[in-house]
Amino acid sequence: MNPVIKIDGLSFGYEFGDSVLKDIYLEISPGEMVALVGQNGAGKTTLVKHLIGLLRPPAGKVRVADLDVANTRVSKLSRQVGYVFQNPDHQIFHDTVQAEVAFGLNNLGLPREEVEPRVTAALSDVGLEHLANENPQRLSRGQRQRVALASVLALRTPVIVLDEPTTGQDYQERKQIMALVEQLNKAGHTIVFITHDMSLVAHYASRVVVLCQGQIILDGDTREVFRQTDKLAESLLLPPQVTVLANQLNEPLNTSVSPVILSVDEMQEYLQRVREVKRNGAGD
C-alpha cells in the first residue's frame, strides 16, 4: 500500500538556530497508529508541524495523502490531516466550547443540521457535554485540552496528528481519550501521536518512532523498540514500569528470547508462566 505520510530526507533548522531535524526518513502506511517519542527539545513538534504545513518543507520532501506539503495550502491540507496543538491555548479562540468544536465542521461546509449532532457527539466523546455552553477561558487546563481535542477529532480526517493529547488528564481520562483515538484508528484513520507517557505508548501504539536530537534512532514495532533498553537510555527514555520490572526480575522462560512485557495484564500472565516453569522444574 502507498504510504499516506512520506518524509524523504527532511532537514530543518529554525532561523539563527542549530539544526533541529537531521535527514529524516519516515514512511507511514494508512491505518497505522504511530507513537512519536523523545526527550524535551528532541524535535517532535517541529517534525509534525511539517506534516500540516505550519512549517514548510522544501519541495518534494514531505508528502501527505498524495499532496506535496511544500506547495499545498494549510487549509487544504487540513481536509486530510487533523492537528491538535501541544498547547490547547494555541488552538482555542472561540468564546463557547460549542462554537470551538463547530468551527472546523462549518469550514467543511456541512449543513447546520449535520453540524449540531456532530458537535454534541464529539463533546460527549470527550466527556464535556455538560460544558458545551461554557467559555473555554473559564475551564481548567485539562478541560481545555479536551476541548481542543474534540474540535479536531470531530473532523474525522484520514490522518490525525496529536501533539501530547493527554496532558493534564488523570488515569481514566487518559484511557478514555486513547480509547477514542484507538476506535478512530480501527475505523481506518492513520494516527500519529506524541507523548511522554510510555504506558500509553505500550498500550496503544503499534509502532514507535524515537527521535533523539533531531534524528530517528529507533523505529519499529512497539515491543521491539522497548526491547532496546540501551538505545532508549541513550535518548534518555524509560520503558514503562512493568517492562523494567520484568527485566529486573530476569526470570527466563523456556523461550530463547526474554519477553518484553508491556502491560500489567501481560505481567500477570508472565508471572503465571514463570510459576508454572518453576513448578515443573521442581517436579522433575
Binding site: G17, R138, G142, D170, L249, Q268, R275, K278
Partner: protein, 285 residues
C-alpha cells in the same frame, strides 16, 4: 477559629466559587500543613487542584474575584489580607501553563526577574541562577530567547525561575505535565533535595502518581471540589475505592492489588521486584 500554632498553611472550612458560576470549585476544605511537609495533590480534571493552589498563593480571590467562605492562613495570617506580591516572598509558584507564566524575553532575564524584585544581592543571583538551570537540565539554554523554547523547555524554565527564588514554600501546579520521563524524575529529585536540605515546604499537583508515591509524605485526592482521600501514598493506594477515583496507581501497585486487594501494596519498583519474587516463591515452590 482555633489555629494550631505550628501549622504553616492552614485551610479552615474553605469554600470558593468563581464569579458567574453555579457551583463551588472548592467545598469546605480543611487542611493543615506543618513546615517541611511534602504534599501531593491528584484528581481528575476540573477537581479543583489548580483552584486550591491559587488559594494558597493568593491569586484566588485577589485576581479571580468570586466569593469564598472560611479562611486560608499562612503562618497564622489570613491570606486574603496580604497582597500577592507579599505572599510571593515566602510562597514560590509554578503555574500550570508554563507559557502563560513566562514574563521576559530571554532566559537569563526570566530567571532574575523574581530575585531582583525581592532584592537578592546581585552577587548571589549568578550562582543561584546557574544552580537552578542546572538542576532542571537547561544550563545550555541560557542566552536563548524564551519564545524559541520547546514546550518542555518552557516548563523547565518556569520551574527554574521559581527554584532560584528559594522560597519557604513552593507550590507547583502540574510542573511535569510536558516533561519527558527523566526530566520529571529529575524535578522531583530536586524538590526532595530542597525539602531535605533546606526544609522547604512543598505542595505539588501531579498526574504521575508513581512520582507522588515515591517522593511525597502525604497524598491528597480531590474530586469535584472536595478532599475525598488523604494520607500517606501507601494508605491512599491501599484504599478500596481507589480505582473509582480515577487515580493511576504505579503499575507495580496495580499488579500487587490484583493478588492481594487488602494488603499493603508495594509502591516502588524495588518493592515491586521483591513482591514478584515472593509471588513466584509462594506459588512456584
Amino acid at each position: 477559629m482555633t489555629t494550631s500554632n505550628n501549622s504553616l498553611i492552614q485551610l479552615n472550612n474553605f469554600s470558593y466559587q468563581y464569579p458567574h458560576t453555579a457551583n463551588n470549585a472548592l467545598k469546605s476544605i480543611n487542611l493543615s500543613l506543618k513546615k517541611g511537609s511534602f504534599v501531593g495533590f491528584a484528581g481528575p480534571t476540573g477537581a479543583g487542584k489548580t483552584t486550591l493552589i491559587k488559594s494558597i498563593n493568593g491569586i484566588v480571590p485577589h485576581f479571580e474575584g468570586g466569593t469564598f467562605s472560611g479562611e486560608v492562613l499562612l503562618n497564622g495570617k489570613a491570606a486574603d489580607t496580604m497582597s500577592t506580591a507579599e505572599i510571593g516572598r515566602s510562597v514560590g509558584t509554578v503555574l500550570d501553563d508554563p507559557e502563560a507564566q513566562i514574563i521576559c524575553l530571554d532566559v537569563e532575564q526570566e530567571l532574575v526577574f523574581g530575585m531582583e524584585n525581592y532584592g537578592v544581592p546581585p552577587a548571589e543571583m549568578e550562582q543561584r541562577m546557574q544552580k537552578a538551570l542546572a538542576s532542571v537540565g537547561i544550563a545550555h539554554l541560557l542566552g536563548r530567547s524564551t519564545a524559541s523554547l520547546s514546550g518542555g523547555q518552557k516548563q523547565r524554565l518556569a520551574i527554574a525561575a521559581a527554584l532560584a527564588m528559594l522560597p519557604e514554600v513552593l507550590v507547583l501546579d502540574e510542573p511535569t505535565s510536558e516533561l519527558d520521563p527523566l526530566g520529571s524524575e529529575e524535578v522531583f529529585r530536586v524538590l526532595k533535595q530542597l525539602h531535605q536540605e533546606q526544609g522547604m515546604t512543598i505542595l505539588v499537583t501531579e498526574q504521575k502518581t508513581d512520582l507522588l508515591a515515591r517522593y511525597c509524605d502525604q497524598l491528597v485526592i480531590l474530586r469535584e471540589g472536595e478532599m475525598v482521600l488523604s494520607g500517606t501514598p501507601r494508605e491512599v493506594f491501599q484504599h478500596p475505592d481507589i480505582f473509582e477515583l480515577g487515580v493511576a496507581l504505579p503499575e507495580v501497585t496495580e499488579l500487587a492489588r490484583r493478588y492481594y486487594p487488602q494488603a499493603e501494596p508495594p509502591i516502588t519498583l524495588d518493592e515491586g521486584v521483591q513482591f514478584c519474587r515472593n509471588v513466584i516463591q509462594t506459588f512456584g515452590g
